[in-house]
Amino acid sequence: MASYYDGRSSVPFLVELEVDRSGVALLGPVRRRYEWSGAKLSEPLRHAPRLIRFADGSHCEIADPAGLDAALQAVGYRDSWVVRSQRRASHVAVATVLLLAAILAMYRWGLPAASAFAARRVPPAVESRIGVQSVRIVQQRFGPSKLASEQRERAQRIFDSIVPHDGRNFRLVLREGGSIGANAFALPGGTVVATDQLVGLATDDAALAGVLAHEIGHVEKRHVLRQIISSSVVGVVVAMVAGDVSTVTVALPAALAQLSYSRDMEREADAYAVELLQRHSIPVAPFADLLQRLQKDSGGDAGEWGRYLRTHPAAQERIAAIREAAHLR
């Protein structure tokens, strides 16, 4: 038994269905016959009726899926593999595991590789364009440098000595750090910004070289660009998974993922810095010492929980990694 709706009004007709290999026959107040070729059968659901949609816009709602199932099996009908798979709990369990594995693989390997690949494809002209905007923001945020001219020359000299000379546009910009104190960062397009306080604190030339080398590493590996690309993808994927859930709950995993990528990039920059320093025969130890001093000045690590919220790996970890990388050569 089924309800038949003719598509011309909302009046239901109670009909009986007879199923055979070539089509469906309706018996009762409506007598009709439809071929299977023009009909669409809905997937079976546990509590919802099964629908057969016919080519002329009418359809049937069948409240007893079991009876229909038996009939369909007898005439050799099979559901799509997705639907069949879904019905077996074991398949669902496998799908769940596969899903988690796929997400994990993408997060750990797929996305970083993809964004690195994409970042390499971005033409330098475009990258410098992005950088130009950032430089302007930096120039507005931080006042012009107040260092003595010989300090500025010293910094520029050290920078020029380690910067790769392959035609790319590296340049050093010194600004007054204000509230952020001793710090340095890299902008896309090859601009490295360092604050007065950092130059002042890094009295040892080798230490300053280390910090600048680290920032050059960010530029070399196009980290900022990668961050931009990967954060967009993370955002989209998380939105897809969460779908109907509030965006707030979703923001947290996305942010954690981003921070973890950020820490990886910092480690990469550190490794690059060590390699660059050694290539120019500059001692690495002062760089590690400077990091130590910076950490002490900023009040120490925040402890266990802080690990996941940091954009940089913990200072101790970085220092240890740097020292170890230096001793390997």
Partner: protein, 397 residues
């Protein structure tokens, strides 16, 4: 040789005998979906979508909506969704392109990027309108399709104000900051503040206009939707929400200041600072949670208002969502999702949806079975629906 097999099965509810009714027969909507069943669909959808780098998402959406619609039962018949996955896919690709253009226009094209952004925004209300048309056209009940013909100009009026208020200040701020970053022009900042305030005050009215636009131009076969609420119906819940927030914020702030002072008194300034900071964060989180819950309350009250003032020709509706119950469900869902690390998202979705849907009643079920089909409603492109989906905007009925 074919086998003829008769199918005998009892129907869920036979249509009632006519006449001799005391008054119009009321009927409550039922939702028969379960979290467990939806989980299977959801997991398969997610896996195939990720593996196909998003292409399957259009098919996933069709399966999801068909699951929800076909499990929504009214007077023995169910709804159905007819969206074409290929059309939805095209819409999504367009949406991704637009989003990328919008996001990267400014960094890549400089000032010209601003014009591009505004062009994209200018198309947004049209996309909304299209999306709603598509969604409704692909919804059917008892073989009759729904239809929507709300004028796009109204969409621009309704969405134009929020878009303008939310974005143009950002542009102005950027321009003002360019001139003097440390001290942006106070008049500009003041102007922006006033614009935001205006938007907040007008928000309930805009919401009213939006629902009226949706329901007044919706058709079921030949039956036309009518929206009879007034703006005041919308202001009520919103004003109550703001009042609740203010009233609960005051003791919270007092508590926070008090604890900070005590901590400072006991442990010294630095200790007080740390404690104060911690408490501020905790309060911030609580306040944010509070706004969400208050928002749930608003949405519950508004659902009741909207449905009780909507008619389809002569058929009336009713809704009896209880705010307290909905808040409880929301909190429970949050706990479920967090503790299952997201695996119970489908259960949470079903739980909330079931309560909302089953709160709706039709006040004249017999009339619902006597609607004639509309003359001709041609196919509607899915561009709109795909786009709005990606932008994660909820246009709920």
């Amino acid at each position: 040789m074919s086998e003829l097999i008769d199918i005998y099965s009892p129907m869920g509810e036979a249509p009632p005998p006519p006449a001799a009714a005391v008054g119009p027969r009321q009927c409550r909507v039922e939702f028969t979906g379960t979290g467990e069943e939806y989980f299977r669909i959801w997991i398969m959808n997610l896996l195939l979508t990720i593996v196909s780098l998003g292409i399957y998402s259009a098919w996933a959406k069709v399966r999801k909506l068909q699951y929800f619609y076909r499990n929504t039962r009214l007077d023995g018949a169910v709804f159905d969704y007819h969206g074409n996955p290929v059309a939805i896919l095209k819409g999504r690709i367009l949406a991704v392109a637009l989003l990328a253009v919008y996001k990267y226009a400014l960094p890549l094209l400089g000032p010209f990027g601003l014009i591009v952004m505004l062009a994209v925004l200018a198309g947004a209300p049209w996309l909304f309108a299209q999306s709603y048309r598509f969604r409704l056209h692909n919804t059917s009940y008892r073989g009759l399709r729904f239809r929507f013909n709300g004028p796009v100009t109204q969409a621009y009026l309704i969405f134009g104000l929020p878009i303008a208020v939310l974005l143009i200040p950002g542009v102005l701020v950027a321009l003002a900051a360019r001139a003097d970053p440390q001290h942006p022009d106070p008049r500009v900042v003041g102007g922006i503040g006033i614009a935001y305030l205006a938007l907040m005050l007008l928000w309930p009215y805009l919401h009213f206009c939006f629902k009226r636009w949706q329901h007044d131009h919706a058709w079921y076969g030949r039956a036309r939707g009518r929206f009879g609420a007034s703006p005041g119906d919308f202001y009520g819940p919103y004003v109550a929400a703001v009042a609740i927030l203010i009233v609960s914020a005051i003791p919270a702030i007092v508590l926070m200041v008090g604890i900070t002072m005590i901590a400072a008194g006991v442990g010294g300034g630095a200790q007080g600072g740390k404690v104060g900071f911690g408490i501020a964060i905790a309060m911030g989180i609580l306040f944010y949670a509070g706004t969400i819950l208050v928002g749930v309350r608003v949405s519950a009250k508004l659902q009741n208002v909207i449905w009780s003032r909507t008619r389809l020709d002569d058929i009336g509706f009713a809704s009896d969502v209880r705010a307290g119950r909905l808040i409880g469900i929301t909190l429970g869902n949050l706990a479920m999702v967090v503790f299952s690390l997201g695996l119970m998202i489908p259960h949470a979705v079903i739980r909330a949806m079931k309560y909302r849907i089953e709160s709706i009643q039709v006040l004249d079920a017999d009339a619902l079975g006597k609607v004639a089909a509309d003359a001709d409603s041609g196919p509607v492109g899915a561009t709109g629906e795909g786009a709005v989906d990606l932008l994660d905007l909820d246009i709920g009925l």
